[in-house]
């Protein structure tokens, strides 16, 4: 039955609802008001709006009037089973149950039964585009036959609700999105403000738009001192600094840049920061920086250490190599190139490239040694010769250590070498010297024994032997003394030898009876010195005993000169020993033709290729000795 009043009531309800909707953006309030107006218009105790939940299996009682607490916002209705709600949504048409107790198509949720609901109308609500959003329901407590007018009213209501819900949803979503954006921005800002890295935003005109706490802490300034001001005002004169140049580049060319620079803060040690600037879409520049003082200092210290080490290695003359054993490639230090006779970088370094410099057989020997040490996991240590491209031969002492990978394969050999050529040469010289010394000592022993033998044979008694032997040993000792004082390439000179011998034999008075004449500084061959000294000793001893030194009237004239005959390679030293005023004893002749005479007449020619004469004149001895001198410039020790 339809009454005019009823129609009016419903129209009024729709108009009121439309007016309410225009004034409100609150969906729940709109839905609740809608329920109230519908219940009032249809005279039912209940009305509700059910929203399909995202899983599409249930519907939530989103709004309603007349219900006990715990229904609206809480109760859910199955949309997949045989409920009238599910049926209404699937059929997209209103579904009417006149009397629940007669209804056989559907089952009903408990809360409806608890509210003694008897008659129900379900009208689906669609959003624009016919997307099912939910249901509008009216419930009565007594069986009721809803007429077409009432159903149409409900359908009209549901059709109004759809666009209204859609509009409010759009508003909600925008609100949500805005709120989320705000939240996200706030979160980002919190992160940027609190992170342990400096951060700032520079506007295109280099105004500082933002600056975080850590950044302020690092530069030691309060925020109001910095934010909103121009970078060039905050740091006067900085627009010419390297860091500014880099920022300008980033700003103009819109490229990311990185720079390390030193920051000076009053009252603190300067710090090193690494700065990175990234251009933003809005034309600003985001700048991040952090303290790298420790890293920079470590790096500087490392560099200094390395420099020191390099100097030490250079001073020590150590050549280094680093061989990749898997590929055979290597790196050599400059010094190692030079050790092999090359300018640094002049050849391609490598294990084999190094090995080929070794002398002959030493290539195979050292290669085997290296491999043996590598296998035995021992350090390599050896000495070998290398030949330079110019043919020079050098001795190297080398040491190497091997490094193994996780698979226990040798993968690297580090090595160092020093040039030991000089020490090897010194060793060789020492060896020769020791050999020479040994030879001389043994020879001297032989000479001493021979002197003992010959003196023994020519002595009449032990007393005579003792004197002669002692004198001869003394003379031998003096010669050895002269020889041992010689430096390298020095020679004993004749006048030196003569004066030494005479000084040992005679006193001042005797020396006054002598007339010595000849050039000084005539160098003798080392091999000649001993024999010549012994000859002078014999002449001197005889003169002391029998001749020139003994008698008052006697005189001794010794003269010498260097002579070189035509066609002869060597110059000769010619010595003239002439005694005068000596009264010759009757037995003098035999006495004086002993060892001394034999040495001069036979020994010197034998040993020194000398030419000698020995005459016993009526007033003394006249003896000449000519011995070959070393060729000019010859320094060979005979």
């Amino acid at each position: 039955m339809v009454f005019l009043d009823d129609v009016d009531t419903r129209e009024v309800a729709l108009v009121e609802f439309g007016s309410f909707v225009l004034d409100s953006d609150d969906l729940d309030a709109i839905l609740t008001e809608g329920c109230r107006l519908i219940a009032e218009a249809l005279g039912t105790p209940f009305a509700k709006i059910i929203q399909i939940e995202p899983d599409h299996n249930t519907g939530l009682v989103r709004a309603g009037v007349g219900w006990n607490d715990g229904v609206v916002g809480h109760e859910r209705i199955s949309l997949s089973g045989n409920t009238s709600e599910a049926f209404a949504i699937n059929s997209a048409e209103p579904v009417i149950t006149q009397d629940v107790s007669d209804e056989t198509r559907f089952t009903f949720p408990q809360f409806l039964i608890d509210h003694r609901v008897s008659a129900i109308v379900n009208v689906p609500i669609f959003l624009p585009g016919r997307v099912a959003w939910g249901l509008l329901q009216v419930d009565d407590c007594q069986p009721r036959n809803f007429g077409p007018v009432e159903i149409n009213f409900l359908k009209a209501y549901a059709m109004v609700l759809g666009p209204v819900i859609d509009r409010l949803y759009a508003v909600d979503e925008r609100e949500d999105a805005r709120a989320k954006l705000v939240e996200r921005e706030a979160r980002l800002h919190r992160i940027l403000s609190r992170m342990g890295e400096g951060w700032a935003i520079l506007s295109p005109d280099f105004t500082i738009a933002d600056f975080n706490c850590e950044g302020l802490r690092m530069i030691g300034r309060p925020g109001e001192n910095v934010i909103g001001r121009s970078l060039w005002d905050v740091y006067p004169g900085s627009d010419q600094a390297d860091v500014s140049r880099v920022f300008k580049q980033a700003m103009e060319e819109r490229v990311a840049v990185t720079i390390e620079h030193e920051v000076f803060v009053d009252g603190r040690s300067p710090i090193w920061v690494e700065m990175r600037a990234y251009p933003n879409d809005d034309g600003t520049l985001a700048v991040f920086w952090h303290d790298v003082t420790r890293r920079t200092m470590d790096f500087v210290a490392l560099q200094r250490n390395e420099e020191k080490l390099r100097s030490a290695i250079e001073v020590a003359g150590v050549g280094l190599w680093d061989v990749d054993l898997l590929s055979g490639t290597a790196t050599w230090s400059d010094e190692f190139f030079r050790m092999l006779g090359h300018e640094p970088g002049a050849v391609e370094p490598g294990y084999d490239a190094g090995l080929v410099h070794l002398h002959g057989d030493e290539q195979t020997v050292e290669d085997a040694k290296v491999k043996a040490c590598m296998d035995a996991r021992e350090d390599y240590s050896s000495e070998f010769r290398v030949i330079h491209p110019d043919g020079a031969l050098r001795w190297l002492r080398a040491r190497g250590r091997f490094f193994y990978n996780a698979a226990n394969e040798p993968e690297r050999m580090l090595g160092a070498a020093i040039d030991i050529t000089e020490s090897m040469e010194l060793q060789e010289r020492q060896r020769l010297l020791v050999g020479e010394l040994q030879h001389r000592t043994r020879n001297l022993m032989s000479v001493v024994r021979s002197i003992a033998e010959t003196t023994g044979r020519s002595s009449n008694d032990f007393e005579e032997f003792r004197h002669k032997f002692r004198d001869r040993l003394d003379a031998l000792g003096r010669v050895q003394g002269l020889l041992s004082q010689l430096g390298p390439n020095e020679r004993v000179t004749f006048d030196q030898l003569l004066r030494t011998e005479l000084a040992a034999l005679t006193d001042e008075a005797a020396l006054r009876k002598m007339d010595l004449s000849g050039p000084s500084g005539i160098a003798l061959r080392s091999g000649s010195v001993q024999a010549l000294a012994m000859a002078l000793h014999e002449l001197g001893t005889n003169a002391l005993k029998y001749g020139a030194f003994k008698q008052d009237e006697a005189r001794l004239q010794i003269s010498w000169a260097v002579e070189q005959s035509e066609g002869e390679a060597r110059p000769w030293l010619v010595i003239d020993w002439r005694e005068s005023g000596v009264e010759m004893a009757a037995d003098g002749q035999t006495q004086r033709s002993g060892q001394g005479r034999k040495l001069i007449e036979m020994g010197l020619p034998y040993q020194l290729a000398a030419r000698t004469t020995y005459e016993l004149g009526s007033d003394g001895v006249h003896c000449t000795i000519a011995i070959p001198l070393p060729e000019k410039g010859a320094n060979r020790h005979g």
Binding site: G435, Q438, H439, R440, T441, R442, N443, M445, S446, V447, V448, R449, S450, I451, E453, T454, G527, A531, L599, M602, G603, L604, Y606, Q607, A609, R636, H637, G638
Partner: protein, 124 residues
């Protein structure tokens, strides 16, 4: 009277030091040897060996005024003349090609030298 153990053996003596040469010769003659030389220079020694009649054994000083005696030793070895080296250096300084040669280290004891000369003659 000393026993003439080296009766008429012809012994070449090469020694550059006169007093030592004199002593060696004296001792060798005492035991009956015929001394060829002594010679103190390499050149003269080589000339002597080239012209000398038979030599039974040789006593050679290693160092002759700075030259080694080896060229002479080679010549003697070629002719099958036993060599006895007398040296102030270590015995190692003698090349291995002269391995059969006896080596006496100076100062040479005369008895050792006579013994070495005898042995060389017997082994010959």
């Amino acid at each position: 009277m000393v026993e003439q153990v080296l009766g008429a053996c012809r012994v070449l003596v090469v020694e550059d030091e006169y007093t030592i040469a004199e002593e060696i010769c004296f001792e060798l003659k005492r035991v009956g040897a015929v001394v060829i030389g002594p010679v103190g220079q390499l050149r003269a020694a080589i000339d002597l060996v080239r012209t000398a009649p038979e030599i039974d054994v040789s006593v050679l000083d290693l160092n002759l005024g700075g030259e080694t005696v080896f060229p002479l030793a080679d010549l003697l070895a070629e002719r099958g003349v036993p060599i006895i080296f007398a040296t102030g250096y270590d015995a190692q300084s003698i090349p291995s090609r002269f391995a059969p040669a006896a080596t006496l280290v100076k100062p040479v004891a005369i008895s050792a030298m006579v013994k070495a000369v005898s042995s060389a003659i017997i082994a010959r």
